[in-house]
Amino acid sequence: MIERRPGLDLLSHLILLLGVSIVAFPLYLTFVASTQTAEQISRSIPMSMVPGNNFLESYRLALFGGETSLGSKVPAVWPMMQTSLISALVISIGKIAISLLSAFALVYFRFPFRNFFFWMIFITLMLPVEVRISPTYEVVSNLGMLNTYAGLTVPLIASATATFLLRQFFLTVPDELVEAARMDGASPMRFFKDILLPLSATNIAALFVIQFIYGWNQYLWPLLVTTNEDMYPIVMGIKRMLAGEAYTEWNVVMATAILAMLPPALVVILMQKWFVKGLVDTEK
């Protein structure tokens, strides 16, 4: 496609614009709805596409909870965001730490049944959380971890995907580097810390972004292991607002949705440079 034809340019821009609007429209709708009052949303059909003037009130209500103009109670989202943030951070950092160590063991140490372990990890790649959810629930509840951060995060930490990705990366690190480190007298953990970790920095960044979003977006698992409102993550909070009261405060729901989208978006934007680097090139 090296041809230069204005018609072609126009067409490709049209297609791109179409794509952008399909993705962006629901976001815009959410935002517009969050700036109107509940009455405005329910009365005007179809909904107005112009932002309203209820922005501050909607977000204040969503963040800190309270009574709406119609008299229904709204739970505060701020503590839910904290719960979500803590679990997402624990899940992503825990996953990366565990995966780094297990990939390190799989690549650099010779021990009996090494391949067996690798395949066991690899096979679990094919089993999503949902498949093993009842036995996992049983274990977590027997250990008394319901309604705790441990219960929310630990079962999600073991990660076949991250282990596999890091293993593949470690395999591309030249053997001579290991040998040079041995000649320099570096112990295995020293080699891991001084050489392997800095080299996998971009990979770790990419993994962090992916795993943070994964942890943030967890819905089914928190639904099972939390019964206490203090431990609800924000994704569950949105769902509860829809089903909870007889009358749905759409502006608050939409404000909550926007709030729920912000942290993952921030993580992606802040780590974008590293993220792309980690997925695209490996510097050796």
Partner: protein
């Protein structure tokens, strides 16, 4: 500084019945301060031998001693050696300084001491103004020098080189060869240098080990190896073009092989009658490929001499005292 003793060295990959022998019962004594080159075709076990001395490969049988210590079971870092790798193996995320200092830092050398040692090595290798660069910002030759610098700062008993010049272009290779020689003269550290390039071997070695299929064929000075090759393998491996090895020649006893270097054949009035196949001009000299009966041989003649043309018959004789006899069965020198 120290000598290296290799005693009945055996290396096998795998165990039991499936074991594949790579090195067969090798013995050698490398003297203190000597520069020894191990040369051989690929797969002859030369790199394996070096890596066993380095401690990166386990020794199946025999003893390796550095100085008076048997080092078979010592970790590489405890052997008081330093190695320069083929691909240099520089740590990509560390600066030149950090690369050179890393081993010392682990050995808990004081920072002031590290500074002076690295500075001294950088001075010798002309790396002083590159110390803050990362390896990817260096040229191939500079990386090579950093790899050597990393070896020098450790002030080891023994230097090990694993084909360190093979990633350089021809000009740089010749230049680095000279630098390594100079370095060895200055530091006088016992060195083992592995290469598959016979020119490198001839120019660098004080003594050289010629290996073939896991066996040490000859251990001697470059002059000895070139002038008195111990076997037909050494004769054909060292020297370019290789020595002519004739199974049949006038006056040759059955069961013997006659070896004559191409430069030791001279045109003459009488003597062996040959027919020219092709003639190659290499500038200063001319290579004449010819047939003697069924045998093919090569002559190296001065370019200023009038050489026979392709298809012509001519006469040539080996120079007196410049013929080698080998046992046809074992290939050993007689």
């Amino acid at each position: 500084m120290a000598s290296i003793t290799l005693q009945n060295i055996v290396k096998e990959y795998g165990t039991g019945a499936k074991a594949v022998p790579v090195i067969h019962n090798l013995n050698a004594q490398i003297n203190d301060g000597e520069f020894v080159v191990i040369v051989g075709p690929s797969g002859c076990g030369k790199s394996t031998l070096l890596r066993m001395v380095a401690g990166l490969e386990e020794v199946t049988g025999g003893h390796i001693s550095i100085g008076n210590r048997i080092v078979n079971d010592l970790e590489p870092a405890e052997r008081d050696i330093a190695m320069v790798f083929q691909n240099y193996a520089l740590y990509p995320h560390m600066s030149v300084f950090e690369n050179m200092a890393y081993g010392l830092k682990i050995a808990k050398v004081s920072m002031a001491d590290i500074q002076t040692r690295v500075d001294k090595a950088a001075g010798i290798l002309e790396l002083r103004n590159l110390l803050q660069r990362k390896p990817r910002e260096l040229s191939g030759g500079q990386r090579q020098r950093v790899a050597m610098g990393r070896a020098i700062v450790r002030q080891p008993q023994v230097f090990l080189f694993d084909e360190p010049l093979s990633n350089l272009d021809a000009k740089l290779r010749a230049q680095t060869r000279l630098e390594i020689q100079k370095l060895h003269r200055e530091l006088g550290i016992t060195s083992l240098f592995v290469t598959h390039d016979q020119v490198e071997a001839m120019t660098l070695a004080q003594r050289m080990i010629v290996m073939n299929a896991g066996v040490m064929e000859q251990f001697g000075t470059p002059e000895e190896v070139y002038n008195r090759p111990a076997s037909t393998f050494v004769a054909s491996f060292i020297g370019s073009p290789p020595m002519n090895l004739l199974k049949q020649a006038p006056g040759l006893i059955a069961g013997q092989i006659l070896g004559i270097r191409p430069e030791h054949l001279e045109l003459s009035k009488q003597g062996w009658e040959m027919r020219v196949d092709t003639v190659e001009l290499l500038g200063a000299e001319r290579l004449v490929h010819a047939h003697l009966g069924n045998e093919v041989l090569t002559l190296r003649l001065d370019a200023s001499m009038t050489a026979p043309k392709a298809g012509e018959l001519f006469h040539a004789m080996p120079k007196a005292g410049c013929v080698h006899h080998f046992n046809a069965e074992t290939g050993k020198r007689l």
